[in-house]
Each structure stands twice: as C-alpha cells, then as structure tokens.
C-alpha cells in the first residue's frame, strides 16, 4: 500500500480536564476526498487544528506523506504542502482581493522576504494571483478591498487563499458555513472540480454537500471516531443516525 497523504496516530488533545480529541487515528490516501462529520463539540475543528499545527496535540503523531510533522510549526507544515481554510472567514479585510492572493502566493517561497522591490516588480506573482481569483469565480474583483465584497465572495476568497499556497493536502473547515442554500452548490462545485493530485479533508455540516463530495466519511462523536466508511454506509448506519441526526 502506498504512503497515505495524512496519517494521524492515536491523537489526543486535552483542554484542562476535557479531552476534545481522544485517541483518534486516521489515514487518508493520496487524492482521496475525506469528509469529517459529527455533532457540534465532536472535536472536528480541534482535530483540524492539531493536524495543521495551530494547536499542538497532547498525545499522538501526525504524518504528511510519511514524514512526521507533529513537532513542526504551522508555517513549516504549509511549506511541506498543507493548506487550510477557516470555519470563521479569516481573510485580510483592509487589503484588496489581489493583495490577499499575493500574500498566499509568496508565502510559500523566499520572495516574502523581498523588501527592496515593490510587489509590482513580480508580474508572474500578479498573474498567478489573478488566476487564483478567477479559479474561484472572483474575476474582476481583484482591485476591491475585501471589506467591500459580499460574505459569499469572502468565502470564495477563503478557498482561493488556501489554494494559493499550492497545497498537496487541503483542509476545508466548513467551506459552506454561513452561506445560503442557493450559494452552497457553487462552492461545492468548486471543491468537486479540484484536481485529484490535491487530497481534500473536509469538515461539513451540510449532509448533501458532505456525502456528495466524499469518497469516505469519518464520523466523530465526543472526540472519538465512531465510524469510518463510504457515504452509503454512513447514511444507513443506525449509530450515526442516533448521534448525528438525532433520535426519531
């Protein structure tokens, strides 16, 4: 079997007396679309934070294509090929959409240290930034400051920023959060259209979006994995229905 893109081994994160993530193990194959589901407080976002390096786990290890990254800080994991979006939109409100993208593109290389030449001196960066915006349907918005664009467009930018670092593994934390039912299919379509050389791990509450995109689904409850399987298996599992969809 080939090396998994992501291998999480017995990972735990304890806050005070609460184990938000409790002994979670997870393997995601290269190119796979994996969706994490589970009720509020299941530990999905905490698990994400531990994998991408925002938080350091209390126990356990995280490997990226066989390389142990448990002790690597967040920025280095990004350099190694992890990219992520945030559940609560986390973009640069005072900057233009183009400047947002430029930050994502030079973040991965040494040009972020250049201080004797303007951003304008790198036409290829500008072109990549414009392409990145176009890829999420933000053509023609490049020059606008983020605070003047709609919430939906900010969610699109959120995705564009994560893609701007050219990740091998993309972590999407509720990419459709806060969007109206009519806006969701747009984002879902963008995610579905991502090339298969990007592995995608996604947290999603919208069941239609989640089960429509997933190759495999991991169900978390109270910090533990209670089931892993295909969308059909998850849909028909009685325990999942109990904890996630409620009794009834």
């Amino acid at each position: 079997m080939s090396t998994p893109a992501i291998h999480v081994h017995s990972l735990a994160k304890v806050f005070g007396g609460l184990a938000a993530v409790d002994d979670v193990s997870l393997e995601v194959a290269a190119g796979e679309r994996r969706v994490l589901i589970g009720p509020n407080g299941a530990g999905k976002t905490t698990l994400f934070h531990c994998i991408t390096g925002t938080l350091s786990p209390t126990r356990g290890t995280v490997s990226l294509f066989g390389r142990d990254v448990t002790r690597d800080p967040e920025h280095r994991r990004t350099g190694l090929g992890m990219g992520r979006t945030f559940q609560i939109t986390n973009v640069f409100g005072d900057l233009t959409l183009l400047e947002n993208m430029v930050l994502a593109i030079v973040g991965a290389d040494r040009r972020k240290w250049v201080l004797h030449r303007g951003v304008d001196a790198f036409p290829d960066v500008k072109r990549q930034a414009e392409d990145g915006l176009a890829a999420v349907g933000l053509t023609g918005r490049a020059a606008l400051p983020v605070r003047l664009v709609s919430y939906g467009e900010r969610r699109q930018l959120e995705l564009a920023l994560a893609l701007g670092t050219r990740p091998k593994v993309l972590f999407l934390d509720e990419p459709c959060a806060g969007l109206s039912p009519s806006e969701r299919p747009r984002i879902a379509k963008m995610i579905a259209g991502l090339p298969r050389d990007i592995t995608v791990v996604m947290i999603e509450h919208d069941m239609d979006v989640a089960l429509g995109l997933a190759d495999r689904v991991t169900v978390l409850h109270m910090g533990r994995v209670i089931l892993e399987g295909s969308p059909d298996e998850v849909r028909s599992n009685a325990q999942v229905r109990d904890v996630y969809f409620g009794h009834g």
Binding site: T54, E74, H75, T78, F92, L95, K112, L161, G164
Partner: protein
C-alpha cells in the same frame, strides 16, 4: 503615483526648499525639528501602522544613537563620518536586543516596551560618569565630512531635508514590497499568515530592528541639530509623542507622521507662548483625534475628498 500626487510632492518639495528664503530662522528651525521628529514617528509607525505593534520604547534607539554620536565626537574626537554610522549601529543593535519583545502581543508588548524604555532612561540619568547624568553631553559640533562641513542651521536644514526625502522614497518601496505587504497581513490576521506559510515572529522581529534603525537615524539628525543630548531624549514622553504624531497625522502612511510632527510641535510652540498648561491643550487635541479622526489627518482629508467628489470605489 497619480499625476496629482506627483504634483503635490513636487510642490511640497519646492516649498520646503524655499522656506529658508522667506521664513526666517525660527520657522526653519521648527521645520527641521518637524522633519527629525517626523522621521522618529515614521519609525514608530512602521510597527504601529503596518505591523500593528504599539511600541513605546523608540526614544531608546533615538537616544542611544544620539549619545553614541555625542560621546564619540566630543570626548574622543571621532569624525562625523564614523560617529554618525556608529550611532545608527548602536541604536540598531539595541533594537536587535529589544526586538525580542515581539514574542509578546497586545498590551503585554506595550508594557514590556515601556519597561525597556525606562531601563535606558535610568542608565542615561544614573550612569553620570559615562552619560553626563542630567547635564548630558554638550558642545556637539556641526557635522563635517572630509573638510566639507555644515556651518549654519540653514545648511543643516537642507541636509536633513535631503536625508528625509531619501528615507521617504526608500520607505515607500519598503511599504509596497512583499515584506511590507506581509506586515500588513500580520496586522490583519496573524493566524491566517501562519497558515499561509509565514514565520510571523521573524517578520515582526525584522520589522522591529528596521524600525529601530530608522529611529537611530533620527537620533543622529537630532543630536547634530540640538548640539547636545541629555536624558530627556530617552524619556518616556518622547516615545509617547512619537506614537501620537503618527496617530494624529495618520498611521500607515508616509506623510502622516510628518504632518503629525508638524501639528504637535507647532501647537506646542504656539500654545506655550501664551498658556502655561499647554500639555492640557495637547491632550485635548489627541482626544479629539481619536474621537473624530481615528485614521489621522491624512485619513480625514481622504474622507472629506471622497465626500466632496462623491467617489464610490465600487463604481
């Protein structure tokens, strides 16, 4: 730059060049001070307006640089060509040490910078054998390099003006560079910057040291203008004033700190001529700024212009 801005810059430069011819020594002196303190405010604003760090220790770099120049020139007869770079180096090295404070954020960063500023002030006051104590170091000569020297305050004004224009141009390049953009990104969202691959602490540290270097340059210009230096240069009120100049003028801009310096120094000169409690007036001005023009005079001017011409950025 838009043609209007280039025209504005050229007119401002022409006026600045002409000032000594029509304005007399008092105004030329005030303008020199405005440029020097404007540069100090600009150094504070590199952190405040771009990176979002509020430093209250910049008088330290300003003073250490000024003291270094004064002591080398007056006691050891070192020429200006060596003393001035030594001053900038000394202030920058102190910045490399104090810059470790970027490990903290928010109110802790402010508090730690205040504490560091008091350490330097305490040394300046108490180590009188070296610093001259309250009297400081006096009789600093005008700078001269290789026989060509400054002999009057008017000549010195032009030297300062040339340095400031050069700094303004370099600062503009810096602000528009990927590095400058990264600082504004960190100010906007440090968590996002980390996830985009930035070692944000290192970016902030580099900005801090650079900012200390600019403050040190201001210190060199100050000591040659003042011709002496005493512990006042290192004191907490200088750090506060530099930050307030940046805020009053407009943070995150280049002209803002200089306009702020002009307002603060001009008001102090004017008000103190007829009103003893001029500090109270200054306080009122700062409160008014924070309430009605939180983005400073430059921001206020921009908003007024937008209202006048009804410019909608979405159109």
């Amino acid at each position: 730059m838009t043609p209007a801005r280039i025209a504005f810059a050229l007119v401002a430069l022409a006026v600045a060049l002409a000032v000594p011819f029509f304005a007399g020594q008092f105004w030329t002196g005030l303008l020199t001070q405005m440029l020097i303190f404007g540069l100090l405010a600009l150094s504070v604003d590199l952190l405040l307006g771009h990176a979002g760090l509020f430093s209250l220790t910049h008088a330290s770099f300003f003073a250490v640089s000024a003291y270094t120049v004064a002591i080398l020139q007056v006691r050891y007869g070192v020429p200006a060509a060596l003393a001035a770079p030594a001053g900038i180096l000394a202030g920058t090295l102190l910045g490399a040490l104090f810059g470790l404070s970027v490990r903290t954020r928010g109110v802790y960063f402010i508090l730690i910078t205040i504490a560091m500023g008091y350490v330097v002030w305490g040394v300046a006051v108490r180590w009188s054998g070296f610093t001259g104590g309250d009297n400081g170091v006096t009789n600093v000569p005008f700078p001269s390099i290789g026989g060509v020297g400054i002999t009057s305050h008017t000549q010195y004004y032009y030297l300062v003006l040339a340095v400031i224009v050069a700094c303004g141009i370099l600062y503009r390049v810096l602000a528009r560079s990927p590095f400058g953009l990264a600082l504004r990104g960190i100010k906007g969202s440090e968590t996002r910057m980390k996830s985009l691959g930035y070692k944000t602490g290192l970016h902030l540290y580099a900005a801090f040291v650079l900012s200390a270097a600019i403050a040190s340059l201001a210190g060199v210009l100050y000591v040659y203008y003042n011709r002496f230096v005493n512990p006042v240069a290192s004191s907490f009120p200088i750090s506060v004033e530099a930050a307030l100049m940046a805020i009053v003028g407009g943070t995150g801009t280049i002209v803002g700190p200089f306009i702020g310096a002009g307002v603060v120094l001009g008001l102090r000169n004017w008000v103190s001529s007829f009103f003893e409690m001029h500090h109270a007036i200054m306080g009122a001005v700062f409160i008014a700024t924070v309430l009605w023009a939180p983005d400073g005079l430059v921001g206020l001017a921009g908003r007024l212009r937008a209202r006048l011409f009804k410019k909608n950025p979405l159109e």
